[in-house]
């Protein structure tokens, strides 16, 4: 086996040194009747070439986003990632290192985590950010639990513009943890009355902007009402590129900001691994979940970085910890931070303008298709259209024509007739004018 350095001579010599006759003696603690005599009922070892052949065959059955005009967003976005990013994250010293428990020999990881936290804090206009969560959805679940700890209340109000799967994650976790969740009905246009839901029992109100449907939401009045009742505003985003162009949640009064960072540095990967961004105000830092990296000095007075405030964490506090999280998204944060360093403010704002501009162009084209109604007035790179037919069928017909057109809302919200004809579409920098024209033309055909 190519990954195992011991040969049979090594093994027999080593067994003799250990003082046993066979390796099975080392497994003698496993009860005899359950110790396996034969092999698992699985294929035997395979060469590199054979594995490559089989997995490539599986991969080739899938339609890669980059191979067709592609307009699916809804929480994960097709962006161009510079080649430098993927090269650097494959450096052995980053890829095959563990969580930086020994800071003297992991300053590389620690320094990029510190840079990552600094970048996220600036992007969101918040005081502090952690060293990442698994993704945006699990980060949102953790934010709701954190709001409970901060406010000592247990009623969370979720906007109808929150990604439906984020809502399900929050509901599942909160219900199990004994918290109450009030989820408002689907809100494609951003016109729900969330203010009236906020009262003195509310721990937090969770609002996504741009919303799942693409609508930009004014967070300021919601923050104001929440703060009147001593509740927290949790602001969520799934498209981090939007922060290059729109007002950040921090200046709109958010107390906790959670976002999906996949768009920067990370590929689609069928949904994971991604990187959750998590930021808050200074006064809540000790209630935060997840790893935090902090600046310090070494014994010679040189600047260095360490994991810090770990008394919040499970390996120290056990059942009193703020979260059970241990692993974060180290390598995905690295990808994020490298891509963001390459972009800088200048590149990010330009990237954001291109994204928005492309969405405006797409909106105009689709609005010109007979029977199509655009539901959003203000949006970033994504918006929702109402079709005269069931959206799921239209998407299938467009897929047959080689266009991956967007997400039919009914896939995530089945059984709601009002949503059956809604399609969420995104246009990023990867789409060309030809892609958009092909989409509009094909849609015309399908709807004719």
């Amino acid at each position: 086996m190519r990954y195992l350095p011991l040969n049979d001579t090594d093994r027999s010599d080593m067994l003799a040194r250990v003082g046993v006759k066979s390796v099975d003696e080392l497994f003698a603690d496993i009860p005899e009747d359950v110790r396996m005599k034969g092999l698992l009922d699985l294929p035997k070892r395979a060469s590199e070439m054979e594995v490559e052949r089989k997995l490539t065959a599986m991969a080739s059955k899938n339609t890669a986003a980059g191979s067709v005009p592609f307009f699916v967003g809804a929480g994960a976005y097709k962006h161009h990632v510079p080649a430098t990013v993927d090269h650097l994250i494959q450096r052995s010293e980053f890829l095959t290192s563990y969580t930086p428990y020994q800071p003297e020999i992991t300053q590389g990881t620690l320094q990029y985590l510190f840079e990552f936290q600094s970048q996220v804090a600036r992007l969101t206009a918040m005081d502090v950010a952690n060293a990442s969560m698994y993704d945006g959805s699990t980060g949102t679940g953790e934010a709701v639990l954190m709001a409970h700890r901060v406010t000592k209340r247990n009623k969370a109000v979720l906007s109808g513009g929150l990604h439906p799967q984020y809502r399900e994650v929050v509901e599942g976790l909160s219900n199990m943890a004994g918290d109450r969740v009030v989820s408002l009905p689907a809100d494609p246009t951003g016109t729900e009355d969330i203010l009236s839901q906020i009262d003195d029992e509310t721990s937090c109100v969770v609002v996504q902007s741009p919303s799942f449907y693409g609508q930009l939401i004014d967070l300021k009045p919601i923050a104001e009402k929440a703060h009147q009742h001593k509740a927290l505003l949790i602001a969520v985003f799934t498209e981090v590129v939007s922060l290059g162009l729109i007002e950040p949640p921090g200046t709109q009064g958010a107390d906790i900001v959670v976002g999906e960072g996949q768009s920067i540095g990370n590929g689609l990967n069928f949904g994971g691994p991604y990187v959750g961004l998590f930021a808050t105000r200074q006064q809540y830092v000790r209630q935060m979940p997840g790893r935090l990296c902090g600046e310090t000095v070494d014994a010679e007075g040189k600047r260095g970085f360490v994991l810090t405030l770990s008394t919040r964490e499970q390996h120290i506090r056990r059942d009193k910890a703020t979260s059970n999280i241990c692993t974060n998204s180290g390598l995905c944060c690295l990808a994020f931070t490298i891509h963001m360093s390459l972009l800088g403010q200048a590149g990010l704002t330009k990237l954001a303008r291109i994204n928005h501009g492309n969405a405006v162009k797409l909106k105009k084209l689709l609005a010109g298709v007979h029977g199509v109604e655009v539901l959003n007035s203000v949006y970033f790179n994504e918006f929702t259209i109402a079709l005269p037919k069931v959206a799921e069928d239209v998407v299938e017909q467009l897929a047959e024509r080689g266009i991956l057109a967007g997400l039919p809302v009914s896939r995530l919200e089945p059984g709601n007739k009002d949503l059956a004809n809604l399609l969420v579409v995104a246009s990023t920098e990867v789409n060309t004018d030809e892609d958009r024209a092909a989409f509009a033309d094909a849609l015309k055909e399908v709807l004719a």
Binding site: M36, A65, E93, I105, G172, G272, P414
Partner: protein, 530 residues
């Protein structure tokens, strides 16, 4: 000294070995000091060329950002150099033995990286039409099959994002099963040797954590367990047990433990962090396990990446299988179906909810399957045997000088020492670990598990050659002898030779600096202003 024809010395000669110049840059040869991006990047610079259509229109209403973001940019060569230099301050499996017990720092094959980057896996969207991703469902189903066969279980919840997330998933399935049976037990049993994530997970779900005692040999005390169960009769939801345990020992009485738990109407959650010791040697389903997460980033070698991303699929027994969370793949006559919503479930399927958006860590699934296929049934068993053999080889190489808390018995894939061998030397476990750094090793796991004093948990993994183990053993012996000879300086100030000396963690926590801030401008003295 030999000379070439130009009179230039070619041998090193005697140039004063002990002299270490104080350099202008602070660099020491290849050992470079690297500033933060905020200290040398520029707000004007970008390393990404983008073509913008200047005629584009805006439909942002009043939402446009007005303030500066304050993010510096780097040109591509600057970024390349910055991150390459940072990387060189990291220890990694690829550069040396990484005996971090309970973390399974094994070789990460690059074939797996290559496979995960095939566009058919890396460039597919989680919500593009299911009809356009049959190969993705096939891959997830194939990995699920390998995991279920390896564990002899009935179902697997694939979506958890890491080990701790898998624990949460398993315990949520257990809670859902109790609820479905009209029960509401309040207690979860956890031995003191458990990973911190176990009690943290149980507490997150509102359970009270009750400790179970260990015997002198580090395994669960069956009699004590019986008593605890009797004391809390009818109120126990389950037990969370790591097997092999964190002392590196297999729980011999695991089946009796499972029987006791099942008789108490409770479930057996197994922390699968140490599955690497027994793959192909024993199947958790045969041991009475109801749920177990598998750290794909440990046992099946997806890279640790400096702390993630991980992946923690949870295998489930027949009793828990119906409660597996969304999404899951259903096999039908027509092929594989992706079940994503409650509305699409059948009566026999009672998912407790959803752990995460989308379908879990696809990128990690590809790597893990590539690893498992490469090994096959024979290679997986061989890997476990080599991992256990290597750990025992380290044990016998060190047991006369270091101290085994539970006597000279075989261990599984990791060997646990306590610090009694350091008694009266003035050297602590921490000092000892830091001195290993000067010798070019990443230290073992220290001060965990909590059940022995000054724990040192060594897991060499199957990736180490005999020669690498021999050198490691010889180095450890030299360090032990040095400590016993009273050469405390080698330990108390260590590491001396790493990119950084010991860091002030207390200071970091007392006044946390968690992001870069612009330094205040230096005060301008009247003289300088002139």
């Amino acid at each position: 000294m030999s000379m070439n024809t130009q009179g230039r010395p070619t041998a090193a000669g005697d140039v004063g070995e002990s002299f270490r110049p104080k350099t202008f840059t602070g660099n020491r040869g290849l050992d470079m000091e690297e500033p933060l991006i905020f200290e040398f990047g520029s707000l004007e610079t970008t390393g990404v060329d983008l073509d913008e259509d200047e005629s584009a229109e805006f439909e942002l209403g009043s939402f446009k950002r007005t303030a500066e973001i304050g993010l510096p940019g780097l040109a591509e060569p600057e970024a390349m150099r910055h991150y390459v230099r940072l990387s060189r301050n990291n220890y990694a499996i690829d550069s040396g033995l990484y005996p971090l017990g309970s973390c399974t720092m094994k070789h990460n094959p690059r074939l797996n990286e290559k496979m995960a980057r095939l566009p058919g896996f890396a460039d597919i969207h989680p919500l593009q039409p299911v009809s356009s991703v049959p190969g993705a469902l096939e891959l997830i189903d194939a990995l699920a099959h390998w995991l279920m066969v390896s564990t002899n279980t009935s179902a697997v919840a694939m979506s958890p994002k890491a080990g701790a997330h898998g624990e949460l998933c398993g315990m949520m399935a257990i809670k859902a099963a109790h609820t479905a049976a009209g029960r509401d037990p309040k207690i979860v049993l956890v031995p003191e040797s458990a990973h911190g994530t176990n009690p943290a997970t149980a507490a997150l779900l509102g359970y009270k954590v009750v400790n179970i005692d260990a015997k002198d040999d580090g395994t669960v005390d069956l009699e004590a367990l019986k008593k605890t169960i009797a004391e809390h009769e009818g109120n126990i939801a389950g037990i969370m047990l790591t097997n092999p345990n964190t002392c590196g020992l297999f729980e011999r009485e695991v089946k009796q433990i499972a029987d006791l738990i099942h008789k108490a109407d409770a479930y057996f959650y197994c922390d699968g962090a140490n599955f690497n010791a027994i793959v192909g040697k024993a199947r958790p389903g045969d041991l009475g396990v109801d749920a177990m997460h598998i750290n794909l980033h440990k046992t099946f070698s997806t890279p640790h990446g400096g702390g993630g991303p991980g992946s923690g699929p949870v295998v489930l027994s027949e009793r828990l299988a119906p409660f597996a969370p969304l999404p899951f793949i259903r096999k039908t006559d027509k092929g594989l179906e992706l079940v994503e919503t409650e509305a699409a479930t059948k009566d026999s399927e009672q998912p407790f909810g959803r752990m995460t958006a989308f379908h879990g860590q696809m990128g990690m699934y590809v790597r893990a399957l590539s690893y498992m296929m490469s090994h096959g049934s024979d290679g997986l068993r061989q890997a476990s045997e080599d991992a256990v053999l290597n750990a025992n080889y380290v044990r016998v190489g060190l047991q006369d000088l270091m101290s085994l808390p539970f006597g000279e018995r075989p261990c599984m894939h990791e060997v646990l020492f306590d610090d009694s061998f350091l008694k009266d030397t003035g050297v602590t476990t921490l000092d000892f670990a830091k001195a290993m750094i000067d010798e070019g090793y990443h230290p073992m796991t220290m001060y965990f598990p909590l059940v022995v004093h000054g724990a040192m948990l060594i897991e060499p993994t199957e990736s180490e050659s005999r020669a690498a183990l021999d050198l490691f053993i010889a180095t450890m012996r030299d360090l032990v002898m040095s400590a016993k000879r009273g050469e405390t300086e080698r330990f108390s100030g260590a590491p001396y030779l790493a990119p950084r000396r010991r860091l002030d963690e207390t200071g970091a926590a007392r006044k946390p600096v968690l992001k870069w801030t612009e330094p205040a401008p230096a005060e301008v003295t009247p003289a300088a202003a002139e």
